[in-house]
Symmetry: D2
Subunit: 403 residues, 4 copies
């Protein structure tokens, strides 16, 4: 099995998430980094590529040069896919250009700045027939997949309530003034988009809840706040949720909760059972039923679903964590890309990753949260499928009762 060839846009020196993408891509030995345009500053891009050992001919100064350069190579040498790990505002133009050229895409989240851009990318990807993954990396955790399995299997009954929270505290002070690159672009609307915490981490919370429960949002009621003086975007967002099946929810995200590190949690309650998961202790999943004791399911055990087992590399008790979960997204997209190359169906247990639809729904969520924050009405309609005709059709088919 040859390694897939990856090109990367963004992720140069001083960036955080680019290195994570590279470790995730590298972990399973199925992907190699062969090209890059690693910074928006050409000099910095090239210096970054050199440090990573990129060949000079494929260590590009800009993403446009990379696109041209790669297309000029014979297909057997060209990159198989591009990984887009820039600040948010560059996701759209880069992904669009590579998608149009028929190059598969793995993009960081939030996908783009507007639903219009998202719909355009969906249309482009469909025309090109490419694989497009969005790195909502938390869904790569084995126990998140177990949680999704439990909901799908009906073990919890009908879902009544969802509580999803994403607690951070790193922006409790004005870190962006001290030269922190991560804080800098995240608090800048021209690069981050219309939302701060809601876009950066609220969208992860939305995706986690949607992935596990399969529920569609009906309406939301948001209170977004900017606590740190001088900041342009929200650094705290609290929401009430209503789902189309009648379930209720709470979602919040904050970057000013002093002491919170990267505390993403999900609780789901159904008529017959419930589950609870925390990203900071990702190898465990708590499950409760109406009558029995608390069960703590742990990664790597034979009692787990095939989906959870397929997402794990180590025996139980040998903890896996953030990088391994992130690598599952890469491995999933790689399997889908390989299946295209080999004209076969992908293995559904492996090719399990957030798609362009997840990305588009996430953008819609951010827009609706901001809209609600400015509204005096309690509820802001937030159905996404209805806003994307062909998805809506599919969605209805999915939800149709068995004949």
């Amino acid at each position: 099995m040859r390694q897939l060839r990856m090109g990367m846009v963004g992720g140069g020196q001083g960036a955080f998430i680019g290195a994570v993408h590279r470790m995730a891509a590298r972990l399973d030995g199925e992907i190699e980094l062969v090209a890059g345009a690693l910074s928006s500053t050409p000099e910095k891009a090239r210096a970054s590529g050199q440090a990573l050992g990129l060949a000079n001919t494929r260590n590009y100064g800009t993403w446009q040069e990379m696109l041209d350069g790669e297309l000029a190579l014979p297909p057997g040498e060209r990159i198989d896919f591009v990984s887009v790990v820039t600040p948010n505002h560059m996701h759209y133009p880069v992904a669009k250009a590579f998608a149009e050229a028929g190059i598969h895409v793995i993009s960081d989240k939030p996908l783009v700045h507007t639903s219009e851009q998202a719909r355009d990318l969906m249309e482009t990807a469909r025309r090109s027939g490419i694989v497009f993954a969005v790195t909502y990396n938390y869904t790569g955790y084995p126990m998140v997949r177990e949680a999704r399995h439990l909901v799908q299997s009906g073990a919890l009954g009908e879902i009544r309530k969802v509580i999803v929270e994403y607690n951070q505290g790193w922006l409790a002070t004005r870190l962006e003034e001290g030269g922190n690159k991560q804080a800098d672009w995240r608090t800048d609307p021209t690069r981050s988009g219309i939302a701060g915490a809601v876009g950066d981490i609220g969208s992860h919370a939305e995706n986690l809840a949607a992935t596990v429960t399969g529920l569609e949002l009906d309406a939301l009621c948001a209170d977004l706040t900017t606590f740190v003086p001088g900041r342009a975007l929200d650094d705290d967002g609290n929401m009430l949720l209503r789902f189309t099946n009648g379930a209720r929810g709470l979602l919040w995200c904050s970057q000013i909760e002093v002491g919170a590190e990267n505390d993403l949690r999900l609780r789901v309650f159904g008529t017959r059972g419930s589950l609870s998961w925390r990203q900071e202790e990702p190898n465990a999943l708590e499950v409760q039923t109406l009558d029995g004791p608390l069960q703590v399911l742990r990664r790597g055990n034979a009692y787990l679903s095939p989906a959870a087992q397929a997402a794990t590399r180590l025996p139980s008790g040998h903890p896996e964590a953030f990088i391994e979960a992130f690598a599952n997204i890469y491995r999933g997209a790689a399997e889908a890309i390989r299946a295209r190359l080999e004209h076969r169906e992908p293995d559904p247990l492996i090719a399990d990753f957030p798609t362009l639809e997840d990305g588009a729904r996430g953008v819609h969520f951010i827009e609706k949260a901001v809209e609600s924050a400015h509204s005096e009405q309690k509820w802001t309609a937030a159905r996404w499928r209805a806003s994307v005709p062909e998805v809506a059709e599919r969605g209805e088919a999915e939800q149709a009762p068995p004949p």
Copy 2:
């Protein structure tokens, strides 16, 4: 030191909370139960009293008989205070009558059904000069008092965010149909009042947050739901909160979260630090600052505040729990009553208990939550002090800057 003489209304056979009140009253050996009207059914009242060893002459069939009977005794034999542990609808008439007769009152929560009743009780109590405690028992935990101390001391800085949650699951099915006495009255509007979960446990959440933070609610936005078919009152309530100092919050209470037992939790985030507490593991309090590691403060240690130390009976590591916290409310009210009897000031570290104002504010909170649930407007104004002239005045005085 003689034991205070307690009379009890409610809490007969089949009741839950009455027995807890009696254990709490008894724990420190400072209070003895000498009279009771323990059920609304005279036969059952008497049988209950007999089982508890009440003297026949003070084992009353009704609370009115008890009031008359006690007043007929010489002051030196008469009950010092009455403990009202009936279902909610009886709190008002009973407390009112005893208060008018000058007998101190300890009442269960929520105080009464309406703010009008609450104001009337406040007026009555003021006229009579009695001590009136409301058993928001969770504020009796030593680590809750430590939490309050940390906020008051400024250790957390200015409070920005409050998350308070009360998760239960025992009403996830229609338990009230199976003859469960607790479920029965709590789901019956004529006895429980206008709210279900919000009244029963949401009011505890409100009180806990208010006690620890000292913040006043400005407005709230509530989504109340009745999930279990056939039930008349909410069994789940989710709210966004705004406080008068600009802080934001989330409060929820649910009785349909399968697997949750009695999971009351509070998180408070300030500009400089944060704290987190869980009722089910009450001996610990987590504290974080901007820069240091997580600290876990534990009950019974010398590094705690005098308020926390005064509320504890055992050395660290010898856990205290629900009954001990409840007993702290009784001990606190008893100290206040004793101070009246002895014409002295009470010891403020001991006489630390929720008052009629807590009770009245709780009723107001329930009313506003229900009002908001029926409103299409996002925010429902919820300031309580403004609605109670003399409290408002006092409140302003309290908040006035030092001269």
Copy 3:
């Protein structure tokens, strides 16, 4: 039901455990303190009794006066039992004298200083026909009773390994020099006995393991150390254990483990399952089987055994703790005493408390641990039943296969 009349020896001002015994006795309203000789110093004894509201006529200066005084009362007024809460060296003479007078006894642990004293007490108690309870209070926890039930029911299979640990840190410095009364007598051989940590808390560990597993010790290998300079007794003890069924074990107790509060833990592993319990979070019991996920059983749930349910006062999620567990020992002994008074069999679910045999076995354990510590041989034989002829007989009968 009349309250049982309790007399107390020890537990005056400045003592710790006496107040705990009184709260435990008082909690259920079934016992009243009517007499006391609360200190070895008559003046202090009387002052202590006065503070507790004892009648002058029964507020004795010495335990001998109390014994005489009570025996002089008509049986219907006399104390039903004596509670012995003195430092260790007084347990034997006091318990012996009251037992000989036919007065039931509840004694703190360790029972006495020597196995000879223990055998004498067993003989005395048998002759007098009294109830004799020893307050190994940790066995009063509902989840300890559930643990015992799980072993007895065979849910864990044959027991292979036992790990019991009692971690404390309060004596990590020379606290006894600073006037700490608890530290003072515990580190004094004339009052504490031949062992320090092993006697004070190691004996609790032994009792917990024996109560839950029902296993008998075959041999032990102990390493006892005195870490704090100037101290006469061990403040740390580590042991390997072998049980008569072939199981292996580790037991340790320490009072110099800085930061440890009162951290008693038990783990039991069998061929089919295992359990784990921690005193500092006593409402939970972790259980694992060969193939399934971790289960966390919690106090107050319907899935628990009758023994665990009988030992609980509050619904699940309303935590119970140290005092409630201690009160279960008192309630158990009280039930046994009442049954004697009423000429009936006690309810075995209630009359569940550590007996004189537990106390005697604990003394034997301490002796063997100290013997081993001085031995160069690895194993010191530690069977207790064999050393007590009639217990040995009974033990064999208990262990006999069903016909």
Copy 4:
């Protein structure tokens, strides 16, 4: 920076730990696998190498062929180091041969079967001047390095007590009969060596305790047991420890503790403070001092030591786990090898890995544990330095008081 070239012996299809070594080597992009003799069966070795994409010319059938083949290559193409991941019995011959050829070695643990072999390897490595790392991978965790730092810095005072435990349950039944490859060789003395659980995981426990505390073992007292019928080696081992500074300890390892996964824990108590760490939740380190609250230090925070910070790749709250810790050993050895290649001193914060001395001391520990298990004497002398003349000299120098 070019990637170091790694050859691997062992780790073919069906093996567990080989794949972990490869992920660990790959994670940071600094090492590439270029050659292998991946199984003791040549066909299987080649099939395994093919699946991993090894070039045919360097996909060897045996490790001897690999050694010859690599030595025949020009130095600029030859492997820089060999990774030995076979069952235990092959560690010695393979490591010895490559070491003699001047090729650096990373070997799995336990190092070899006998102290004689260990001393021979030490001598060989010294003569060849190679880097030799032993994958006691748990010392690669950032919080283990923080723990070591805390001890070294004196924050805990003089160490008095060490508790190290390694709990597993996977061999509670006779798994080796069902074709489990891992269980098979580990329970076979010809491949595993003289010890079972003690060699496999007890040696990890020894290394963890020694690494963190720096203490040298003086004597031990071991009780080793084989619980599962038909098994030739111990599956459970319990020990008392004495250290040369007077500290005491407990060490146990078990593979029959049903439900335990890979539960390695360390507690260290000094005169001024203590620490506690668990491998299954590796991002946290609990620290206590004489007077303050429990502190929970978490990976990725600025308050940690340089050693802990150098061992981390992700911000706090983004958990790292087993593979990342393992990768730290590879990164450390790689830094040491690179420094040799570049004729410079290695960066001590990076080149932080267990050495041949750790490996040799581990073998000595296993021998002494087994010796003690067969002894009727309580204490078996277990000083290692004294048994290795030149280490002893160095050790004395290290422990010499400052001039």
